[in-house]
């Protein structure tokens, strides 16, 4: 899942930076498996980053209906 040594090194640095930002310390015995899965996530992310035509833009990603109080909510 990880390409050249340079790619692998860059990916590991990127992953380690994300972990530092998140405050997560990965146990040593789980590090390589977690890194492998991170590499897979980056591969997937590359697939979804694509250009959209203006007509493909959604009108919205939020609806106020999401925030309306439910019938059961306390007044």
């Amino acid at each position: 899942m990880i390409g050249s040594d340079a790619d692998a090194g860059a990916l590991r640095e990127e992953f380690d930076a994300a972990l530092r930002r998140a405050g997560i310390v990965v146990p040593p015995e789980r590090y390589l498996g977690t890194l492998d899965n991170y590499a897979e996530m980056r591969r997937l992310a590359n697939l979804v980053h694509r250009s959209f035509a203006p007509e493909d833009e959604p009108a919205a990603t939020f609806s106020v209906r999401m925030a309306m109080p439910s019938a059961d909510a306390a007044p």
Binding site: E14, F15, A18, L19, R21, A22, G23, I24, V25, V26, P27, E29, R30, L32, G33, T34, D36, N37, Y38, E40, M41, R42, L44, A45, L47, V48, H49, R50, F52, D56, E57, P58, T61, R65, M66, A67, S70, A71, D72
Partner: protein, 472 residues
């Protein structure tokens, strides 16, 4: 098998009302079967025997007094252990949730209680509906009744195993990237992932807010329809809950398929990295069967499966990571290895990654529903690309990669019914899925029931060692 196993819900309901059986008798039979089989199959994490018998007695009293709550009244069921039941543990099959007792019923349990169904207990799952058949969890993984050395699928593993082995006729699971349909496929049972939002997720521990679906797992298609009837419906306390029109989900069962149009995206499972020859033959046979039953069947083209997979897995990982972020930081070792290694990479998914995945999701849903599901009423598709692998083939340090094709319809939110399609030469179940337009579960179930009635795979049940030993 139980004397009642394989009897459809409608038949059990008749026998409860004409005095041939009682709810107490059904529950006692289920508990007795679980007592024998659960030590081998590990379907149940928690069996609430006293509560079940008390509820069964109440059901019998009500029915005797003429209080009839519907088809499920007095019938036993079980829940994947991410669904809350007031006063019972919800463990999510994780050390992280040790000691957690739910304070209120989830919406699904509220509905099933109103329907008079009797809860047997909580069922094994992959940790937090994600991890895998891991060995570092508080309970052992559920085992496939057709071959206990083979994978039962997940994450609704216990739900599928309990139904396949006759411990219960109805189990409730959840599906985020195939977690109802995958175990249904591997265990030879019916699993229905309804339209997104049709069944409330309130009180169900989330894996991914945007992708989680709840649905029934049963022995027959008609039973799935009856179960859906009980649990579907708008819940104002779940903001993802759909305002769906009222529907008789079993109302089209028994009709032939003339007039229905079925699309087959064969390109999804053929090719160099495609399904095993047995799966391909089974899918081709399923298409031919639906045509013989009156449907018009044509090949269709869907967007590249990799796009659905990338979209769904990114959203699932990002949301799953956010849900567990604090616990991963504070007590990461309490998570099983598989779950941990699948969640922590979410820390590196950027906001742009997630937004792009959400935009792509909308585009894919439109392409499916404005494309093949405009010119067709239904699609059929693979669930697994090969039969259940052996459990001892899973690597120690990496979550098993199941070759599944279920995530596309959690991404689009369409209803999808997994049903048995036969067995391999080794006797392991294989099956497929039928997909419909949003909120057209009745048509999906119509087609599934017609196929099932023609093929009758439900007549074949797993032969379990305790049964063989008892028969010897």
């Amino acid at each position: 098998m139980n004397a009642w196993h394989g009897l459809p819900i409608a038949e059990l309901a008749r026998r409860l009302r004409d005095g041939r059986t009682t709810s107490v008798a059904l529950v006692e039979a289920a508990l007795a079967r679980a007592h024998v089989l659960n030590p081998l199959l590990h379907a149940f994490i928690h069996i609430a025997a006293e509560r079940a018998l008390a509820d069964a007695q109440r059901a019998d009293r009500e029915l005797a007094q003429g209080v009839d709550r519907g088809l499920l009244h007095g019938l036993p069921y079980a829940l994947k252990d991410i669904f809350d039941v007031a006063g019972l543990p919800t463990t999510c099959h994780s050390h992280v949730m040790a000691g957690h007792l739910a304070r209120r019923d989830c919406h699904v349990v509220e509905r099933l209680s109103q329907a008079g169904a009797v809860l047997l207990g909580k069922l094994a799952t992959h940790e937090f509906a994600l991890g895998g058949p891991s060995r570092d969890l508080p309970f052992p993984p559920a085992r496939n009744p057709w071959s206990p050395t083979h994978f039962a699928g997940g994450s609704s593993s216990g739900s599928a195993v309990a139904v396949a082995s006759g411990m219960t006729g109805l189990a409730i699971g959840s599906d985020t990237s195939g977690s109802i349909r995958g175990p249904a496929f591997y265990c030879g049972v019916v699993g229905l992932k309804p339209t997104y939002g049709l069944v409330s997720r309130r009180g169900v521990f989330p894996l991914s807010y945007s992708l989680d679906h709840c649905g029934p797992m049963t022995w027959t298609v008609e039973d799935a329809a009856h179960a859906l009837q009980a649990i579907a419906g708008h819940d104002p306390q779940d903001i993802g809950s759909a305002h769906a029109p009222a529907c008789d989900y079993a109302g089209r069962i028994g009709r032939d398929l003339h007039g229905l149009r079925v699309g087959v995206p064969r390109h999804f499972w053929t090719g160099t990295d495609g399904a095993s020859p047995e799966i391909v033959r089974m899918l081709d046979d399923a298409a031919e069967t639906l045509a013989r039953l009156g449907a018009r069947v044509d090949e269709v083209i869907l967007p590249d499966f990799e796009l659905f997979s990338a979209c769904g897995r990114l959203i699932m990982t990002a949301e799953g990571y956010a849900i567990h972020e604090a616990k991963l930081r504070e007590r990461g070792r309490d998570f099983g290895r598989y779950t941990y290694q699948r969640l922590v990479p979410g820390a590196g998914i950027t906001s742009a990654d997630l937004i792009q995945a959400q935009r792509l999701r909308l585009q894919l849903a439109r392409q499916v529903n404005d494309g093949p599901l405009r010119t067709n009423d239904l699609l059929i598709g693979a669930v697994g690309l090969g039969p259940a692998p052996r459990v001892d083939s899973f690597p120690e340090d990496w979550p098993p990669s199941m070759r599944m094709q279920a995530i596309q319809f959690t991404v689009t939110g369409n209803p999808a019914l997994a049903l048995p399609g036969g067995h391999t030469a080794q006797g392991l179940p294989i099956g497929f899925q039928i997909v419909g337009r949003p909120f057209e579960e009745a048509i999906v179930l119509q087609a599934g029931a017609a196929y099932e009635a023609d093929k009758r795979w439900y007549l074949r049940t797993p032969q379990l060692e305790p049964e063989r030993a008892a028969a010897a």
